[in-house]
Amino acid sequence: MNGLQISYFEASARKRLSELVDAGSLVEFCPPEMRQTSPHLAMLDAPLAFDDGVVTGRASLSGHKVLIAAQEGRFNGGAVGEVHGAKIRGLLDRALSERPAAVLLLIDSGGVRLHEANAGLIAISEIMRAVLRVQAAGIPVFALVGGSCGAFGGMGIVTRLCTEVVMSEQGRLGLSGPEVIETVKGVEEFDSRDRALVWRITGGKLRRALGEATLLVDDLIPAFRTAAAKLIERYRAHPPVPADLDELLGAQAELTERSVRFAAARDGREIWQADFAEASRVPEMTVAEFNALLGEAA
């Protein structure tokens, strides 16, 4: 298969990693042969994975040192358990001493792993604090969201704590997944089988239009690679500084304005309509067309 054609959405976490970083540069931390598996899945007689569903390591990307974690969405929905979460937290702790050019989080997760829900919830809160510590140390953290499980639950919050969020249109970002809302509130509230609707509520084009995703890229691993490389360059010149009071008061005003402006909105179309002349065409637009519409180079 031509390397340029590899879908990020379809690829496994390990495939994404190997195509994203410079060839052969990945050094894995806590690799599968260490068999740091989940005792809690074992207790519940559920299948184990030798890496507990997340790959953590160091690599170079366009020659720059990065620390990187990739969640495997196909193993338990990329959900965070005790070991899985601790690997990501450990990677972020390591960034403080190794000082890479960036930390890349390839997020593909429904959130907390129910089999070990309490450990997962605490782990995500530890990851949240660690993401902020790393950024406060002047190291950017980039979230890449384009997998089949998207970034939901606590990992949806983690994603929005990152310095930049790169998404594909196929990527999804939110808090409660459509299935959860449908189960609790009924199919009239959110029909989780209506894929077009789900993407208009949670998908990359909606998140990019709202400014939550900072870059929208094609569903190709090299497109994510190019975006990550570009961001690394940008932040080498201007390392992140922790948000100060004025910046957060500004964010407060912006988020308030959004909630007022779209006080009754229930579909991404309403958000596109407010900003774009050709709103009805947005779902069919290519990424390049959409980015052009946003007034930025594709």
């Binding site: 599968p32 007689d45 184990l48 994975a49």
Partner: protein
């Protein structure tokens, strides 16, 4: 989960493999295979951990076929399975074999 292990005679892989390699993903109807070097060069040691109970005979047939088709002596295979069919198991075994050879030192 059902766990069993077996040691199958097989011709020695001509070279040592440099490191562990992982192939496949543990998801419904799929499996992962971790390939590592083992001490004995004339046999392949395999540990299977599967969510499908009662299929040991079929596993053994698929694994014996694999050890016959390839020179896998000196390899240790650890398998986490979430109910893959014999065809998928066989395919992943071949992929794991190719992958570990592709990373020869």
């Amino acid at each position: 989960m059902e766990q069993f292990s077996l040691t199958l005679p097989s011709d020695a892989l001509p070279q040592n493999i440099a490191s562990a390699t992982l192939c496949g993903v543990v998801s419904s109807g799929n499996l992962e295979i971790l390939v590592e070097p083992a001490a004995a060069s004339d046999a392949c040691r395999i540990v299977v951990n599967t969510s499908a109970h009662g299929f040991r005979d079929i596993w053994e047939a698929v694994l014996k076929d694999f050890a016959r088709r390839h020179s896998v002596g000196g390899l240790s295979l650890s398998i986490n399975d979430a109910g893959a069919t014999p065809a998928v198991v066989s395919l992943r075994l071949d992929q794991a074999f190719e992958t570990c050879r592709g990373e020869l030192a």
